[in-house]
């Protein structure tokens, strides 16, 4: 056991995977000498060398496209996109190729790769540095999307993501990078993809969250008998765990950082409305950021879900 923050936990996971499997290659902008702008790849360059920790030119499409070609050859590329706001140029390669090469070639070629990127707001950052557009990737068949909520979980999920035979978008909540410290077991452990986690059991309402909103959710549920689910894998998400909980509590509040319109909360709600409708005692409430263009820091606190809004939503469902 060692206490570490999420940056350290992710760094350790990368280190262990690179020790374990020499096909694992890290590439991206400033991942080498600089150790990444958040230092997640700190020390890897000096330890594994420039061949395995590759500083690339500034070209997101090319970086992700190259990862597809590396993976097809048998390597395990772990790409770092410096911020989620800069992943958009790579969507063509992600959606048209990484997600489809297995189907296109009927299994001859696969894209076993990971794309890591800092994700989410709450850090008073510049424009394009607080994006939460996970739903863009959740809707791509063939892709997996993962979001850790603590150092221990981050390490276990990253191990699983790197060992997964298919492409994984690994979203790292910037706000949690250094906020939470936690005991992380030294032993090699994984957190399986596709499984959600019940953070606390409860009987009156199910609250689903992930990433940095989980922590805000935990602050909000005090005084309620709320069952809190940390989704962890956003796509494909763990329908069974969510539905089981909802069937038990009959009430649902979903919390996320993205605006409501076509966010992942919509999918959760729709799945519940289709398969657990008869167990519902109250409307399904989403607590999300407002449906506006992501503001700069001065307005960010108004934009993001607050403890007050989450509590109000819970109280509202409890009135039924």
């Amino acid at each position: 056991m060692a206490t570490m923050n999420m940056v350290q936990a992710l760094n350790l996971a990368l280190r262990e995977e690179m020790e374990r499997d020499k096909d694992v290659i890290v590439l991206g902008e400033d991942v080498g000498k600089d150790g990444g702008v958040f230092r997640v790849t700190e020390g890897l360059y000096s330890h594994f060398g420039a061949e395995r920790v590759v500083d690339t030119p500034l070209a997101e499409t090319g970086i992700v496209g190259a990862a597809v070609g590396m993976a097809a050859y048998g390597l395990k590329p772990v790409v770092e996109i410096q911020f989620m706001g800069f992943i958009y140029a790579a969507i063509d390669q992600i959606c048209s190729h990484a997600a489809r090469i297995r189907a296109r070639s009927r299994g001859r070629f696969t894209a076993s790769l990971v794309i890591r990127t800092p994700y989410g707001g709450g850090v008073k950052a510049l424009e394009h540095h607080s994006e939460s557009t996970e739903a863009l990737f959740c809707q791509m068949p063939g892709m997996k999307v993962v979001v850790p909520s603590s150092p221990r979980i981050a390490k276990g999920l990253l191990h699983s993501a790197i060992r997964d035979p298919d492409p994984v978008i690994f979203l790292e909540p910037t706000r949690l990078y250094r906020m939470i410290k936690e005991d992380v077991p030294e032993i090699d452990y994984t957190v399986p993809l596709g499984k959600a986690r019940i953070v606390q059991e409860g009987k009156d309402v199910t609250v689903v969250a992930w990433g940095s909103m989980l922590q805000r959710t935990m602050q909000s549920v005090e005084g309620f008998s709320a069952e809190v689910i940390d989704l962890m894998t956003l796509s494909p998400f763990d329908e069974e765990t969510v539905l089981q909980s909802v069937k038990k509590t009959g009430r649902v509040v979903i919390v996320h950082e993205a605006p409501s319109n076509c966010g992942l909360g919509a999918e959760l709600s729709a799945t519940i409305a289709e398969f657990a409708m008869l167990h519902l005692k109250a409307p399904i409430i989403r607590v999300t950021s407002y449906d506006v263009v992501l503001p700069l820091p001065k307005l960010e606190d108004y934009y993001l879900p607050t403890v007050t809004r989450i509590r109000k939503a819970i109280e509202m469902t409890l009135q039924y």
């Binding site: 290659i25 061949e51 395995r52 590759v54 690339t56 030119p57 070209a59 499409t61 090319g62 992700v64 496209g65 190259a66 990862a67 597809v68 070609g69 590396m70 993976a71 097809a72 050859y73 048998g74 390597l75 590329p77 140029a89 063509d92 390669q93 048209s96 190729h97 090469i101 297995r102 189907a103 296109r104 070639s105 009927r106 299994g107 001859r108 070629f109 696969t110 068949p141 063939g142 997996k144 997964d164 035979p165 298919d166 596709g194 494909p236 763990d238 329908e239 069974e240």
Partner: protein, 351 residues
């Protein structure tokens, strides 16, 4: 304003076999007669396949199909110059490459009939499934070249794209990365003068595509793309250089798309008959035939035999493709990811 000169560059072109079938011996690659005949046989086979594909589409037995007529020298010459260990990345208009590399003809038909199984490339072939989004395959080849270099394998990547593809950001990001990492890769542009209805001179203002390599710090060259010897020689040299650690090369095959863009296109809407006539005289197969005839390698009887053999092979492939079992709808699920999601497991029960 007067300034100091930092650098000077030249753009070169290679021609070996002219339209009359006359060879420049000083430049010709040394090829055994059997290799020459292989080039000819494959060219005829490719064109036979291509014409059959077009008529099958007309009969509604294939979907939209992009003809390679006129591109046989560029595709077969380059594919034959590559070794087994090399990795090829074709565009959607590369029947000639797949045929030269030995992908069963029935699979190519099967693919164009709308069946993914046609692009389940055999494990023995290092060729990617064709890429439809223009230019996007360039990045894949770059990544594979990075992997080849990392593994220190004796191989190179060879990626195909068109004059239109050279306008995409993928081209730039890929060639730039290849230059920075000195990768074992050959970028082969088939400049066939058209991107659907957009002529080469509206695609870019540079005099040649070859000179774009100057922007990436490595060598670019234009070759007569209808001259199978020039294509073969330049490709072989570039791949050798790549495998020796000499880094990337850009080759512009200056050629012509003799047919419509695809079977759903009507090129007469945007280009003249004269232009097409002018290029007919430059047909890559015609000049190869003239040369081999002069060389006495091509008796009339043999020509008929090759035609017949090709037709038989294509008939055979067509039959095989058409009587193949239809794909299993469950394949949609089993090939999307390595394992089924909870939702997919529920949905697949519909079948």
């Amino acid at each position: 304003m007067p300034e100091q000169i930092l650098e000077s560059y030249q753009v070169k072109r290679l021609d070996i076999l002219d339209e009359k079938g006359t060879l420049d011996d000083s430049l010709a690659p040394s090829l055994a007669d059997s290799e020459l005949m292989r080039m000819y046989d494959l060219s005829i086979l490719a064109r036979t396949f291509d014409q059959r594909a077009i008529s099958l589409q007309r009969e509604g037995r294939l979907g939209t199909y992009p003809s390679i007529m006129g591109l046989e020298a560029s595709q077969i010459g380059s594919a034959l110059a590559a070794e087994e260990s090399d990795w090829l990345f074709p565009t959607f208009r590369e029947s000639g490459v797949y045929i030269a590399k030995g992908l069963p003809l029935d699979m190519i038909f099967q693919y164009w009939a709308g069946d993914e199984r046609g692009m389940k490339i055999p494990d023995t072939m290092n060729v990617f499934p064709l890429a439809i989004p223009v230019g996007t395959q360039i990045a894949h080849a770059v990544g594979t070249a990075m992997a080849i270099k990392y593994r220190k394998d004796r191989a190179a990547a060879l990626v195909y794209f068109g004059d239109g593809g050279s306008s995409r950001g993928d081209f730039h990001e890929g060639l730039n990365m290849a230059g920075v990492f000195q990768l074992p890769i050959l970028f082969l542009c088939q400049n066939n003068q058209w991107a659907i209805s957009v002529p080469r001179e509206h695609q870019t203002a540079s005099k040649t595509i070859a000179q774009k390599a100057i922007a990436y710090g490595f060598e670019g060259i234009q070759v007569d793309g209808n001259d199978i010897f020039a294509v073969f020689k330049a490709t072989r040299a570039a791949l050798e250089k790549a495998k020796k650690g000499g880094g990337p090369t850009l080759i512009e095959c200056f050629t012509y798309r003799m047919g419509d863009h695809t079977t759903s296109d009507d090129a007469s809407r945007y280009r003249t008959k004269d232009e097409i006539e002018k290029w007919k005289a430059r047909d890559p197969i015609l000049r190869l035939r003239l040369y081999l005839e002069k060389k006495g390698l091509l008796k009339e009887a043999y020509q008929e035999e090759v035609q017949a053999r090709s037709k038989a092979a294509v008939d055979e492939a067509q039959k095989k493709a058409e009587k193949a079992q239809p794909p299993d709808p469950r394949d949609m699920f089993t090939y999307s990811s390595a394992s089924l999601s909870q939702r997919q497991a529920r949905q697949i029960k519909d079948f």
